[in-house]
Subunit: 108 residues, 2 copies
């Protein structure tokens, strides 16, 4: 699973670049964030990525959902944004699903 993890300190341009790269390759991306600051950065990154990708003819939409994640042995509720091209909004089949994981914890 290729999950782009975003923190409150993630640079939006870096996250947007990651989303755009994953979308160009897989036409599907997952962006995960925990906490208001991280969710805000994630949404801003999706807006930037939308601008990058429109030039490639990919018009993205997103679907948010809650997911429980294990952080240092504690269960926390994260918000996952599933990003897909408009009108093609289905998850890839498991075989097509990317395997890498990217974490963007760089500071602004």
């Amino acid at each position: 699973m290729n999950i782009i993890k975003v923190s409150a300190n993630s640079r939006t341009a870096a996250v947007a670049g990651a989303i755009a790269g994953v979308m160009r390759e897989h036409r599907f991306a997952e962006v995960q964030s925990i906490g208001a600051g991280a969710v805000n950065q994630a949404i801003k990154a999706v807006i930037l990525a939308k601008g990058y990708l429109i030039n490639d003819g990919i018009d993205i939409i997103c679907v948010p959902q809650f997911v429980d994640v294990d952080i240092d042995g504690k269960v926390r509720t994260a918000i996952k944004l599933t990003v897909t091209p408009r009108g093609e909004d289905t998850a890839p089949t498991p075989e097509e699903k990317p395997e890498e994981e990217e974490t963007l914890e760089t500071t602004e």
Copy 2:
């Protein structure tokens, strides 16, 4: 324009109810928030609304964008989430566009 305005203190269930109501009536909703706390409440409300609406056969997606808004004479950048049914993701024509405005500034 029916814009659902969300603050950091908005109750997510109340906002979700508003989104669900507007979606049932117009199949189109706009949710506007300024600041990380408000954006976080808005996204959580969309997730809750998605749960409410799936029971009505409406599977929602959202598209975020930046919008400049005038707050007490100062221009601020808000995040607007355009909510539509999946696969029907186009804005209504101006005549179809709802006219009312709802503001949810209630505290948790």
